[in-house]
């Protein structure tokens, strides 16, 4: 027994050891391979493999950031971002689906058109089916459960006030970046920071597990403009109606608060609808108040008056002989509508007499007039930083001909935007001091600092003359506002064509200050090419000023102070 046992056991032991050794070696090989793959980083080692794995399953997605709200000075929204869903598809997975017809119906497209588009992108992994769908629409499409069809969250910009503030607020493109107006100028402030998150996807591209957020999305900041939407709407309505009545091709209006430099309203014609991108006219997106320059014409005569008063050679009551109603300068004859005879400097401005202004300009010389224009901010860009803003030019010549010296005093030979003209008049409305312009609401605690351009006394004298322009002898009787005293100046300028000034095309202007007793609001109106006989500043632009200023004063509860129809004053307790 024992012998036979030994015989059986002996060979078994070394075999067992041998087999065990082989298995151990194999196991050791496996383990060392694992160590090579997982721990040791050789050329196709751990890092390479990790990378390859991640490439197949880990994806990074963008988290959209909320773009800041743009509001008017009272908090009314002018531009709002709303959540929308863009539907996209992987054409590789979608192209063989039998449900394309149903998908097309839900999308509101024809099955043929959709199939064609899918075929067009059939070698790609990504195509948009429909961008910016409302969440309800998107849900209807995604609920079909088609392979490879997914939704992506985005924001879309809506403009509740529509065409009323269209050129000012501007636009964003389909990816939410500002491309015009305030949206462009303050893009960095408004846009926020797109976030990033990482997730695991399965074979079909569906997210199966979120790994985490790499970067939080940061919302953009809100922006309150200096615009008052009520006023903006009123100005828009008045301007559009006037454009129809005068048959003008374009128009612009701007209202400032001279004491703070805030722009309260700014409108243009033609307009566009910022909420619909189908076939709009890019020319209509221009904010003409700041981008269009033209010769300001007679609206510059009050600035010439400033130069005259500062020289000490004239007062507003100095007499000037304008007979016989025309004057020769160089080879040109400048006429007045009729012979005004001997009139005061004030009356020269009231009547906008060419002869009178020519005589003043000849006595003053062009340097002092140019100096006043410069001090009033003409020829320099304003501080609002609006995209596409132009600054106009002041003439800078080596030699001045006699006629050039004189026409400068009439506002020819220089160019300016409507905003610059309004800003120049703000000097008269703010006791001779000019406050930098802004499109943003000034905090009430902030005191607007201006710089003194002319003395308070001269500003008051010019205001008095401007008031007389709207009086019974003036050229701007249609600018009057019932119950208030206002002041302003008309301008009628020949348009410039290829061969010099055009005889039958005009730009009508009016710039006004109100109310005269406590001046604060400056409004400039520009009407481009009014048709018919009423082409002048007094006929085409002054009535627009009157209608706008009526609203401005009412909204700001200005105290009526008319001489003829004085309102009744009652005590607080008295009631009425």
């Amino acid at each position: 027994m024992s012998r036979s046992k030994k015989i059986v056991a002996k060979p078994a032991l070394w075999r067992l050891i041998f087999i065990a050794f082989c298995l151990f070696v194999l196991f050791g090989l496996l383990v060392s391979r694992l160590v090579v793959l997982q721990v040791v980083d050789q050329d196709r080692g751990a890092r390479f493999l990790k990378q390859q794995g991640a490439m197949r399953s880990v994806r990074t997605a963008e988290i959209p950031a909320y773009r800041g709200l743009v509001t008017d000075r009272r908090g009314e929204p002018l531009a709002v971002s709303t959540p929308v869903v863009s539907i996209w598809a992987n054409p590789q997975q979608l192209k063989d689906s039998v449900q394309i017809a149903r998908l097309a119906m839900t999308l509101g497209q024809t099955p043929e058109a959709l199939s064609e588009r899918i075929n067009l992108y059939s070698d790609k992994q990504f195509m948009y089916l429909a961008r910016h769908q409302t969440p309800d629409q998107a849900r209807a499409i995604l609920d079909l459960g088609l392979p490879g069809v997914r939704g992506e969250r985005e924001y879309r910009r809506f403009y509740p006030a529509g065409e009323v503030v269209s050129q000012l607020v501007g636009l964003t493109n389909v990816d939410g970046e500002g491309i015009a107006g305030i949206e462009l100028a303050y893009n960095e402030w408004l846009r926020g920071q797109t976030g990033k998150k990482r997730y695991l996807k399965d074979l079909h591209g569906d997210a199966i597990r979120n790994i985490g957020v790499i970067e939080q999305a940061r919302s953009g900041k809100a922006l309150a403009l200096s615009i008052d939407l009520r006023l903006q709407y009123l100005q828009h309505r008045v301007l559009q109606r006037a454009m129809v009545e005068t048959g003008a091709t374009a128009g612009a209006a701007v209202t400032l608060d001279a004491s703070t430099g805030e722009i309260l309203a700014m409108t243009n014609h033609p307009v566009f609808n910022p909420n619909s991108r189908d076939g709009f006219d890019y020319a209509a997106t221009r904010n003409r108040v700041v981008t269009d320059v033209f010769e300001p014409g007679s609206t510059m005569k009050p600035l010439t008056l400033v130069a005259a008063l500062e020289s000490g050679e004239f007062t507003i009551d100095s007499l000037i002989d304008t007979s016989p109603g025309r004057i020769r300068v160089g080879r040109k004859v400048l006429p007045d509508p009729r012979n005004y005879g001997e009139i005061t400097v004030s009356r020269v401005i009231e009547k906008s007499s060419q002869v009178g202004v020519t005589k003043i300009a000849q006595q003053l010389g062009h340097e002092s007039i140019l100096d006043v224009f410069q001090r009033f901010g003409l020829g320099e860009p304003s501080s609002i930083g609006f995209p596409g803003e132009r600054s106009g030019v002041l003439p800078n010549r080596q030699r001045w001909s006699d006629i050039e010296k004189v026409t400068l005093a009439f506002g020819y030979g220089l160019t300016a935007t409507p905003l610059q003209i309004a800003h120049a008049y703000a000097v008269f409305a703010n006791k001779g001091s000019q406050v930098p312009l802004t499109l943003l609401k000034r905090p009430e605690s902030e005191v607007a600092l201006g710089h003194q351009v002319i003395s308070k006394e001269i500003a008051e004298q010019v205001l008095e003359v401007l008031n007389r322009v709207t009086g019974s002898e003036g050229t701007a009787q249609k600018a009057r506002v019932e119950g208030f005293q206002v002041g302003g100046k008309t301008g009628t300028v020949h348009k410039v064509g290829e061969a010099g000034y055009l005889d039958d095309q005009y730009v009508a202007l009016f710039v006004g200050v109100a109310p005269i007793e406590d001046p604060r609001f400056v409004t400039a109106i520009v009407v481009d090419q009014p048709k018919g006989d009423n082409y002048g500043g007094g006929a085409a632009a002054a009535p627009i000023y009157s209608a706008i200023t009526d609203g401005v004063l009412r909204l700001h509860n200005a105290l009526p102070a008319s001489e003829d129809e004085s309102p009744q004053f009652v005590g607080l307790g008295g009631g009425a």
């Binding site: 909320y66 009314e76 929204p77 709002v80 971002s81 709303t82 959540p83 969440p135 969250r153 809506f158 509740p160 006030a161 009323v164 979120n210 985490g212 939407l229 009520r230 709407y233 009123l234 309505r237 019932e482 119950g483 007793e517 406590d518 009412r554 105290l559 009526p560 008319s562 129809e565 309102p567 009744q568 004053f569 009652v570 005590g571 607080l572 307790g573 008295g574 009425a576």
Partner: protein
Amino acid sequence: MTLRVLPASLLITALVSALAVVYSSHVVRGLYSKQQVVEYRQWELQEDYSRLLLEHSTLASPHRVVSIAQEDLAMTSPQLSIYRVVQPQNGRRR
């Protein structure tokens, strides 16, 4: 003594830490799904907010106010003759 206790305590520590890893990843998963729910809620609320904001500004648009005031309510701007200016009691006027 220490030779025996050290491996044992290391083993227990390793075990505890392994369980803690399991637990914390469970907690993370729970919190993450909560965050997802909250984020979705935020999205929904933002959707509502923007919609209400738009609705509000449509209803309160000057366009609509003017047409209702003029057409439905037959309102007009007051004539200057019916203005009443209320002065403060101490009679101080500009």
